[in-house]
């Protein structure tokens, strides 16, 4: 791409911090203007930096493995809900590109310290935490906190640094290189998926803590202030604001079950008795406090308190929609207290609740089918619906104990170790355990599971058209036009995630406007007012960044050897008809949907690889050149 003359970048801090753990060196690099213009920030920065810096075939757990932690030009400003922390890496769970999104306060604090992103490389000699205070970066010994849960480590770090420090940390799961371990925020608004915690564990990195005193300078502060006021007004008139504020993602558990999502019993999806426990009025009773991320009036986070049953006394972050499913429906568990307790264990040990629960459901089905015995399960009878088994298995996975040591490898590897046909029941795509939607009950959403560059994620292409009928209703069970819809949704998400936005806030704003276009127009205007980057004025440029990011992430995987055969879903979805209303009788038409999708994307039908024409159209000529050099560009 054409490079630009140096010019002030407003909204950005203008610096990227590189942390080299091997040499205990902190290097500050100027944020390239072209990087800002072409990739905006957050997920966009991650995709580009990983493409540039990661050699194909790098072991994600090696010192050479690179991780990008980033946010956006909006982060730390008054714009609503643009303060998420994005973590990009090559996943030790899947071997593919990965991006995971968390909330809380870390990103804003790191921006205040003066950085647009942190790039982590190398491996520390011994357990280390990194303490960033504005320009000062210290590598500190973490030996005494190695082995502690996330909350324990955060407390120690705050004692040793600053009571107000914000942190990302790993727990025992990451230290033990559990493949579903994650980096956790100090308030549990965690980028949970893909195994980021194992990378930190391998790098001997226990935590990064930060405190900052600077504030981003805006290009047109008055105009920007007006745009934020417009945003707040749109939020206020949005029908989604009240449910989100009252219950967060718990407002829809029961409804989604009724609509054919929230799969049961490891995606067998037979009726679940007692699904009424997920009615909003039941879940609301557990809420004792509302919490939110930096700069967000939605405050969708909730604290639960348990007063009865074997887990009485728990006071912790609530189980999100996904966790009600992973610790609940997919294991046949309807005991909300056990779900909340297992959720808390995941947070403290630092493992992904979605993958953990998926793996418990997987183990339960293997037990039901006689593929694993009570003896192999350390004497546990892995019966569907048993809350004690759920809690015990989650603990075992986090600590790599007994059967947990096998499951800690993730569904694909665990199935290989177990053998005896176990792989048939491993519910994943590209090695990422599937979350709380069934591809047979929402075809575009399912197509996004199959084609997602990070594997089975619901957030890469969360389909508001199919799932909420918003802003326009699309029949979730048809296949026509789903390639186009999937591309549109994936590109829009990539675009607003490059701007560091929260997916829930986008839904609230789009429901308020009644239109995706209006939301994207608003974002373009606000990005320009914040940064002064001329190109951001045009919403078409923002959409193009989304498509560019999506294609670059794809190219990363192509370079790693991924092809059409990896855009795959388990046989269960392709052959077993969905057994309950409303998708009764449905299967997932994978090949037909893939052909449609690749065609719309301008990718090669045989390999699922972006063509030179497509890459050049997106300004990614050098990416096409490299793929060609490696013999991976379609003829």
């Amino acid at each position: 791409m054409v490079s630009l003359p140096p010019q002030r970048l407003y909204g950005y801090t203008g610096r990227i911090l590189e942390i080299d753990l091997t040499h205990k060196k902190a290097i500050k690099i100027e944020t390239p203007r072209e990087l800002a213009r072409d990739f905006i920030g957050a997920r966009g920065f991650g995709a580009k930096i990983l493409w540039d810096r990661m050699k194909p075939g790098t072991d994600p757990l090696s010192p050479e493995s690179v991780m990008v932690v980033s946010w956006s030009p909006f982060t730390g400003t008054s714009a609503q809900s643009f303060h998420k922390v994005f973590v990009m890496f090559k996943s030790p769970l899947t071997g593919a590109y990965f991006r995971s999104v968390g909330g809380g306060f870390f990103a804003a604090e790191a921006k205040f310290a003066g950085y647009d992103a942190i790039v982590i490389t190398g491996r520390a000699e011994k357990p280390t935490y990194v303490w960033i205070r504005d320009d000062e970066v210290e590598f500190r010994d973490a030996t005494h906190m190695w082995g502690a849960t996330v909350d324990g480590a955060v407390e120690m770090i705050r004692d040793e640094t600053d009571k107000e420090a914000r942190a990302l940390a790993i727990g025992p799961g990451g230290e033990r290189l559990v493949k579903i371990a994650c980096v956790v925020t100090d308030d549990y608004r965690t980028p949970g998926r893909g195994g980021s915690g194992a990378i930190w564990g391998a790098k001997n990195l226990k935590a990064i803590a930060v405190r900052g005193t600077k504030r981003p300078e805006l290009f047109k502060p008055d105009e920007f202030g007006e745009l934020v006021r417009e945003q707040v007004e749109v939020f206020k008139k949005s029908p989604l604001l009240d449910p989100f504020q009252r219950l967060g993602t718990n407002s829809i558990v029961y409804q989604f079950y009724t609509l054919g999502h929230h799969p049961t019993y490891n995606f067998k999806n037979i009726e679940l008795e007692n699904a009424e426990v997920w009615r909003p009025e039941v879940l609301e009773k557990y809420i004792v406090k509302h919490v939110g991320c930096f700069g967000c009036m939605i405050r969708c986070g909730k604290r639960w308190k348990l007063t009865k049953g074997p887990f009485a006394g728990l006071y912790h972050d609530f189980p999100e929609y996904e966790t009600h499913w992973s610790m609940g429906s997919t294991c046949g568990v309807t005991n909300l207290e056990a779900i909340a307790y297992a959720n808390m264990l995941c947070d403290k040990y630092g493992i992904d609740t979605i993958s953990a629960g998926n793996l418990v459901g997987f183990a339960m089905e293997l037990y039901e089918k006689g593929i694993i015995s009570e003896r192999e399960a350390d004497g546990l009878r892995l019966r569907w619906g048993d809350p004690d088994v759920l809690v015990e298995l989650v603990r075992k996975i986090a600590l790599r104990e007994g059967i947990g040591n096998v499951l800690a490898e993730g569904a694909v590897r665990a199935a290989e170790i177990i053998g005896r046909g176990a792989e048939k029941y491993a519910m994943h795509s590209k090695g990422l355990e599937l979350p709380a939607y069934d591809p047979r009950a929402a075809k575009s959403h399912g197509l996004s599971y199959a084609t997602s560059n990070i594997g089975g994620s619901h957030m890469i292409g969360w389909n508001k058209y199919e799932i909420l009928g918003m802003p326009e209703k699309v029949d979730p069970l048809t296949v026509e036009g789903k390639g186009e819809l999937t591309k549109r949704v994936q590109d829009q998400i990539a675009a607003y995630e490059a701007a560091g936005w929260c997916a829930f806030a986008e839904l609230v704003q789009t429901a308020g406007y009644g239109s995706v276009e209006k939301t994207m127009d608003w974002m373009a205007r606000a990005l320009y007012a914040a940064t002064g980057v001329e190109e951001f004025k045009d919403p078409k440029h923002i959409w193009l960044v989304g498509e560019r990011v999506y294609n670059l992430e794809r190219a990363f995987n192509v370079r790693e050897g991924y092809t059409r055969k990896d855009d795959w879903l388990p046989e269960r979805f392709l052959r077993e008809p969905f057994p309950r209303a409303p998708a009764k009788g449905q299967i997932f038409e994978l090949d037909r949907l893939l052909d449609d999708y690749y065609t719309v994307r301008g990718w090669d039908l045989k390999t699922g690889t972006p063509t030179r024409k497509k890459l050049e159209e997106l300004g990614l000529k050098e990416v096409a050149d490299e793929l060609e050099r490696l013999g991976k560009l379609p003829a």
Binding site: D242, P243, S251, Y321, E322, W462, L468, G469
Partner: protein, 91 residues
């Protein structure tokens, strides 16, 4: 014919019930059901308010687990309706 109507969230609070069966004539539309049959059970004012919330897309209705976006939708005997405030989820 009879249809089963289940209410969630503020819809349940306003109606004061979680579910009810309603008798309706063959060919009855969602709009008719709300205006006539729900109206005679919970009062015309409240039934109207729910209809308006549906039109403004603040309230969603699923019939047998499938979202319906038109008041003209024709109901059938034994249909199960879920009436709920539109809400979203994800993570």
């Amino acid at each position: 014919m009879r249809v089963y109507v289940e209410f969630l969230g503020y819809a349940a609070e306003k109606v004061g019930r979680r579910w009810m069966w309603l008798e309706a004539e063959t060919g009855c539309t969602l709009g008719d059901l709300f205006a006539k049959h729900l109206g005679s059970t919970i009062g015309a004012e409240l039934a109207n308010a729910l209809t308006e919330a549906f039109t403004r897309r603040e309230l969603a209705v699923a019939v047998n687990g499938r979202l319906v976006d038109r008041l003209e939708h024709v109901l059938e005997d034994g249909d199960r309706l879920l009436v709920f405030p539109i809400a979203a989820g994800g993570a």
